[in-house]
């Protein structure tokens, strides 16, 4: 195989889910991205949009499903985002939650959300979109055996009574969700009661993954006697028939393209273009080629192709920081690389690597050095100054010395007769990460650490990371941060894998800190019920300061997304949190 890539292994979390491991170097970055305020405004803003034409988006992964309840990958999420609208959306640039299909209010105690679906909002078959349709989607999550989203609704009063099969969360005793009340006076209005205040809840309840589902289609798979498989294998999951989004499904030529046609009945107005085609190509090279030849209307390219693309007159390049980062995670509990347990050593590993030079070498300068969990485009990014860990080899040497690591005759650091060996693992086939591992190992060697890089299959690496395999000392992977900035799943101590207790999770640094836990909890479920941005931001400042000081990760860098579009495509303005938020306004200049 010339290009071993991780294709479908590019597992994504969408708006409501929280994070994603981007496994693929050549992957088209997902919808989430941050703006560098590159000039995205189109000259054509004042022109009258021309009707017709076709948008062809280039991608490297085929979709798996068109059922939002079952979606667990970026590609499928793109298509469901085009054919189904969520109740709320995030501002494309700031990530702030805004109404979409519905307006909403929160009760003063923060426990009840009331949604009112837009009067104009109808399904493509003419029926109004009503509260019951949202309930259909949530019921489907409860009944499905293959969804991975049951925990998303666990704090909704009564959800756990409905959800099945019986587990520590689900009781499978009820056929309705007691916490959801549909206004008897208006089928478009409903309220959702929560068991506790949960700040990320609004996106869980109203985001794209909880888009209302047409009850007239899916209701029959969700009756009291339905089995999980009835819904999970419903033909409309792969061949949907009724839509709420700007486009309607037309055809899925597997492995090749998904063809959507405009939804004339779209509540925000019919799109200007006739068709939206999601074109699957083999790899990032094919995307670059397709953009050059004009076969693709838009797509994201990798940094190595940027210089080449800049010579093409027919395209426009929009650059923005991605909503995620690539990092080196230290196993602070490693029995073999014992040095990693010491904060000073981890700080030395931050000072001892010239990340700016690495960024130049690895991604041609198309990234920003990262020293905290949140990225600058998120509102949760701290306003307070953080230690920048500017490259300083002398400081690194001193910190290692302070920690008791002394160079032996062979030039290798040692402590208590034990040499400092360090294996940096990363997923093989991902050229960017393999290079990063190599460069990092080279730089750490200069500190006297016997560092080596070790590419491994992503599939195996994931299992090792999440199940507490202690053979990993350092691992390079990446997070793609989703809608809400809640970092619970990555950094809360409850997420640290413990094979003895059959606990798995993403806390594979084994870093634990009571103040860190508290800041995460308060940002997620504040005891005072205050979910305001300001209150949460204060908690995340504490959180990021602790991480910045303790360095359980070397936070690496946050890539630029390099979105390339044909100059004929107007109103295309991808931004931090979404690419397709205004797709119904896009048009093609003939």
């Amino acid at each position: 195989m010339s290009h071993p890539r991780t294709g479908r292994a590019l597992i994504a979390a969408l708006a409501a889910s929280m994070l994603v491991a981007t496994a693929c170097a050549g992957g088209t970055p997902s919808a989430s991205a941050a703006p560098s305020t590159a000039a995205t405004a189109t000259a054509a803003a004042s022109e009258k949009p021309q009707q017709g034409g076709r948008i062809v988006e280039g991608t490297i992964s085929d979709i798996a499903t068109m059922q939002p309840v079952l979606v667990n990958d970026t590609a499928s999420g793109r298509i469901t985002g085009l054919i189904y609208d969520g109740l709320v959306q995030q501002d494309a640039k700031t990530g702030e939650v805004k109404p979409k299909l519905a307006s909403y209010t929160t009760s003063t105690d923060g426990l009840t959300y009331t949604f009112t679906i837009n009067d104009k909002a109808n399904w493509s078959d003419g029926k109004p979109i009503i509260a019951q349709d949202w309930l259909t989607a949530v019921t489907a999550v409860g009944k499905s055996a293959t969804t991975v989203r049951k925990s998303t609704f666990q704090d909704v009063v009564g959800f756990n009574d409905l959800c099945a099969p019986a587990s520590s969360q689900c009781k499978a005793t009820a056929s309705t969700i007691s916490g959801v009340t549909i206004d008897p006076a208006s089928p478009k209005k409903f309220s959702v009661k929560m068991t506790k205040v949960s700040c990320p809840a609004i996106l869980d309840l109203g985001g794209a993954t909880a888009s209302p589902m047409p009850t007239q289609v899916f209701g029959k798979y969700l009756t009291a006697t339905s089995k999980a498989a009835d819904f999970d294998t419903a033909p409309e999951n792969t061949n949907p028939t009724v839509f709420s989004g700007p486009f309607k499904f037309k055809e899925w030529r597997k492995g090749d393209q998904v063809i959507l046609s405009k939804n004339d009945a779209y509540w925000q107005g019919s799109p200007n273009v006739d068709e939206y085609v999601y074109k699957v190509v083999a790899n990032s090279t094919a995307i670059t080629t397709g953009l050059k030849t004009g076969e693709l209307t838009f797509g994201s390219i990798v940094a190595k192709d940027l210089a080449d693309m800049q010579t093409v007159d027919s395209v426009k390049i929009t650059k923005y920081q991605s909503l995620g980062y690539t990092f080196i995670g230290w196993n602070t509990a490693s029995p073999t690389a014992v040095g990693l347990a010491d904060k000073r050593v981890r700080q030395a590993l931050a000072y001892g690597i010239d990340m700016d030079a690495v960024i130049k070498a690895v991604v041609f300068g198309e990234a920003t050095k990262q020293v905290s969990h949140h990225v600058p485009v998120q509102w949760a990014y701290p306003s307070v100054a953080l230690e920048a860990y500017k490259y300083d080899k002398a400081k690194a040497d001193q910190l290692l010395k302070d920690a008791g690591w002394i160079k032996g005759a062979d030039g290798i650091l040692a402590k208590d007769g034990k040499k400092f060996n360090l294996t940096i693992a990363t997923n093989s086939g991902n050229t960017e990460r393999e290079t990063l591992a190599q460069v990092a190992a080279d730089q750490y060697k200069q500190l006297g650490i016997n560092a080596v890089s070790k590419p491994e299959a992503f599939q195996g690496l994931v299992t090792k990371l999440t199940t507490g395999d202690q053979t990993l000392e350092a691992t390079i992977i990446g997070w793609s941060l989703g809608g809400d900035p809640d970092p619970y799943q990555i950094w809360h101590s409850s997420q640290i894998p413990d094979p003895a207790k059959n606990v798995t999770g993403f806390g594979f640094t084994y870093f634990k800190d009571a103040a860190l836990d508290k800041s995460i909890e308060q940002g997620r479920n504040p005891t005072d019920g205050n979910c305001s941005t300001a209150a949460r931001k204060a908690n995340y400042e504490t959180f990021n300061k602790i991480l910045n000081e303790n360095q359980p990760y070397n936070f690496g860098y946050s890539n630029n997304v390099l979105a390339v579009s044909q100059k004929t495509l107007q109103n295309f303005a991808p931004a931090s949190f979404s690419t397709i938020y205004n797709v119904h306004e896009w048009w093609i200049k003939k």
Partner: protein, 318 residues
């Protein structure tokens, strides 16, 4: 003839069982847990993951999993894809026509170009024509397909814009637009056929030379038959026998080659699909893919044996 075919089919069964065991074991020996993989980054709890593992039968001991799979298999049930939640075999079969059309066109090119080249090389043995064909044959083997593919894309699609760079059809074209399909097929089919052209021309050259030196050819000449009759009626028919032998394995070769070609040209065929399934650890799809390919291969070998009988009068079939 019927007993011959039946016996062949009977022999195929242990082969297929062997393949099923090897596939099953290899797929599961590769590192990583499929459920961990496709729930990575999601909010699935450990309990959700265990439930999924139970749903897909992955919590059972391997021999039980295997028997369960086989039991379903004999009923034509290949299981549900972990990723697509639909029938694994049906998914795989959808991609076969795409690979097959590429393979058929490539095979046609191989035979139409390779056979005459070999014969010409034999007839013009020792001349510059022979030398040229032989060098061409070596080059056909030596040039890596993915590299040639990329070069051709750069030249014909990016620079000249004569041919599309990737895919099977222009977006928006009718699937029955054969001209458009042919345009897309030209480059990948050419690259895919290259090794075959090299093989056949070399094979044919050797065989033709050998046959031409045999007694019956001399006899034919002596009988006063003209050169053309000797060549095409007597010599070529015999020289073609090894080509038929090679044809039996061609499916394997073309499918193997298609994996690379499909990746370079973004061709939505079984190679790219199975590769993606392997990366995603979609066990049912990988297993269905291998078993169906194996079945096709076995059938192609049986067809080859029948073709032998047709081409070579010396081989009888009982």
């Amino acid at each position: 003839m019927r007993t011959f075919i039946l016996r062949r089919l009977l022999f195929a069964i242990p082969t297929l069982i062997g393949i099923s065991i090897i596939t099953f074991v290899i797929v599961r020996l590769a590192p990583g847990d499929p459920i961990r993989l496709f729930t990575f980054g999601s909010r699935a709890t450990n309990e959700d993951i265990e439930a999924l593992r139970h749903l897909y039968g992955l919590d059972q001991p391997l021999p039980i999993q295997y028997l369960d799979w086989m039991l379903k298999l004999v009923h034509g049930d290949f299981g549900q894809s972990f990723i697509y939640h639909t029938d694994a075999a049906a998914l795989f079969i959808q991609y076969i026509p795409n690979t097959l059309q590429l393979a058929v066109v490539a095979l046609t090119i191989q035979l139409l170009v390779g056979v005459p080249l070999g014969v010409i090389a034999a007839l013009k043995r020792g001349t510059w024509v022979d030398g040229f064909i032989r060098v061409f044959g070596v080059a056909g083997h030596a040039v890596p397909a993915f590299w040639l593919g990329l070069v051709l894309i750069l030249f014909f699609a990016v620079q000249l814009k004569w041919l599309p760079s990737q895919g099977i059809l222009t977006v928006g074209k009718d699937p029955w637009d054969f001209l458009d399909r042919l345009k897309h097929m030209l480059l990948p089919a050419y690259v895919l056929s290259l090794t075959g052209i090299a093989n056949y021309s070399r094979l044919l050259r050797t065989e033709t030379l050998e046959v031409l030196s045999q007694d019956f050819v001399r006899t034919a000449h002596a009988k006063g038959l003209n050169e053309r009759t000797v060549m095409f009626v007597h010599a070529l028919r015999n020289a073609l026998i090894p080509v038929v032998t090679a044809l039996g394995g061609i499916l394997a070769g073309l499918i193997g080659g298609a994996l690379v070609i499909e990746q370079v040209f973004s061709w939505p065929g079984i190679g790219r699909f199975t590769f993606a399934a392997a990366i995603a650890k979609d066990y049912p799809v990988i297993q269905a893919g291998v078993m169906i390919s194996a079945l096709l291969l076995v059938v192609s070998y049986i067809l080859r044996d029948i073709a032998y009988a047709v081409v070579d009068p010396r081989i009888g079939v009982k």
